[in-house]
Symmetry: C2
Subunit: 416 residues, 2 copies
Amino acid sequence: MAEGKAAAAVREDRLWQRHADMAKLGGTPKGGVNRQALSAEDAAARNLLGAWATARGFSLFTDAIGNLFVRREGTDASARPVMSGSHMDSQPTGGRFDGMYGVLAAFESLEALEDAGLRTRRPVVAVAWTNEEGSRFQPGAMGSAVFAGHNRLDEMLQVKDWKGVVLKDALAETLKAAPAPLRDGPPGFPLDFYVEAHIEQGPRLENEKKTIGVVTAIQGSRRYIVSVAGEEAHAGTTPRAARKDAFAAALRIAQAMYEATTDRDDTLRFTIGRVDVAPGSPNTVPGKAVFTIDMRHPSDAVLDTHEKKLEEIVAARAAPCTAGIERVTAVAPTVFDPAVIDLVRAKAGALGLPNMDMPSGAGHDAMHIAKLCPSGMIFVPCERGISHNEIENATPQDLAAGARVLAEVLAALANR
Amino acid sequence: MAEGKAAAAVREDRLWQRHADMAKLGGTPKGGVNRQALSAEDAAARNLLGAWATARGFSLFTDAIGNLFVRREGTDASARPVMSGSHMDSQPTGGRFDGMYGVLAAFESLEALEDAGLRTRRPVVAVAWTNEEGSRFQPGAMGSAVFAGHNRLDEMLQVKDWKGVVLKDALAETLKAAPAPLRDGPPGFPLDFYVEAHIEQGPRLENEKKTIGVVTAIQGSRRYIVSVAGEEAHAGTTPRAARKDAFAAALRIAQAMYEATTDRDDTLRFTIGRVDVAPGSPNTVPGKAVFTIDMRHPSDAVLDTHEKKLEEIVAARAAPCTAGIERVTAVAPTVFDPAVIDLVRAKAGALGLPNMDMPSGAGHDAMHIAKLCPSGMIFVPCERGISHNEIENATPQDLAAGARVLAEVLAALANR
């Protein structure tokens, strides 16, 4: 199969128009979307994708958690498929590219293969995973997690949203009008490779003027709560020397933590996002301060090292207050397959697209599928790195460039 | 008149018992009091003081804002009186000494003069000012402010509590059963001197093992709000270099402020009591941070100097965020009369009581009366400096020591 033919058949205008058509489903006045998992808007998006797939002669099916698969057959009916996709659900005030781009880039790849008349040995499947965002039903990345056997189907079907709606019922409602039959049997099936395209959701590609991010890993993330206990006192009468000011101690601790997590290559992510100071009266010395830490890095060893530093800082800087640090969650990094990473980089290079290796800062469905088969991801820039926001934006050119790399990668993998 | 005779007639047991009797009115299970201004408990305290006064043959009257006066006549009916007192209202979860001690020490002084058979030229008046705490009706120190002409009587009578009760009605209800007639005419009358006794509400006397605080001033206080604006961003995907982290900037500003307000003699009070960080999500870089500053010092010039430093720090440390500082209140320091200060120090010395000069960290009724006549204050220790708290405590010995100094000071001033 001639290299570059799949990429050449990717149509920028078609891909852009499909984003515009999908953005109408749950569209918000500010140009974003509210298309939460298993809502009427999600059902409409599934039906639209299904209609496009049927019109192109692709087959369509769903599984018991509602993941939607669009399949273009290969020449070897017994070969394990190559899969690509992402999700169509959004945050309540989400953008039109987060997730949807990965689904439409995969579908565009199938259309490009079709338009170019390219046969592949393996089937190529575009997938829309159910409920990646987790805004309505918790946890997020649910469809891919169930597919990969990480979460149990029966438990997930019983999850309720904040109005008390059971996921099982919302799913049945969503699929009622769907063109695809619900598959029986356990979720998941053997895959040969998985590649997910996504907007970066960060500013690095834009800042470094690159079109393609060759995603090497999804960084590990850990969350902590730091609690500082001091003593409430009168702001007017209590001398500094007699104070046990919980906020002043929290501030010393936080300042030392910011310094200890300042790495030269700016890879470690350290965020204090929530801060509570009690009693919160302007004329009372704070008796209590609590703050959260979100720390992420592609290497678990680096996270271990810095976790130790955080613990040392809490122990060393709290006096005359007392303080503790508690780890509340730890998600291990996902390291993508070297062969997929190399292939993405090579295809981007062959297409003359400026590219860079980078870890993903956010979690994606690929972190679950990477446990099933060799996997990778392709990033394209988004404006100022803004995502989970109605003003999220990307250019038709960059989206098409990513789809071209994806089409080439899928064509190559499907012919192995 | 023989020096020391008034002090010798002060009775520690009687003064302590009066505190215990008053503590029953609005007493709380934890040993504190809830005796808010113009409540049934406040009325009961007024009536009890009135009954004690009447039993001793002192005259009793109130003014139009409900300040309660107990008067022991002097030999010169036309001489301006010497006055002492404080307040009987409490915080909702207040202690039994805050305010009440100043009223009972003044009343004990009147009784001591009486018991010792000491005649004075001027009348000596014990006062219980209305609504010093300001917990129910705003502003606090209301009775003394109206007496001094600082607040307008007609405006104060229209103030409502959080249930919508108008102060005028609560006052009428409070005084209905009172033994004292309501005086007509404008509030206030000429005074010769004013001296207020109070628990310190801070730890300095206890820490330095002194019994008497010779109060030189009430420090000035200023309040500020610092607002920092950054940009919300994804905690996982946004590199440090691309962040505008409002909390990190607030922290740099606050740290520099703590350092800039660290004076060698530990007189400047600098407190960050309230901190709000938005959006307050653990995995979002904060886009906004707001904190309050309470800064106090006996010298307005020192406050001016440090206010300028705070402004410079906000301007210098905010980048890459933007920040502003706004002064929301400024109360000028009260400097007490040198003659009264010297007299308090001399009487404490003559009684062999360890004493030290000190400014008051908290505001008191004396700050208003000091604008009418030469004034001063006497502090006694309270346990661990804890006040505005049901566990507020003081010893019978210290309370009596303060009353002895007060009785001697009042006797001296009343014979000038």
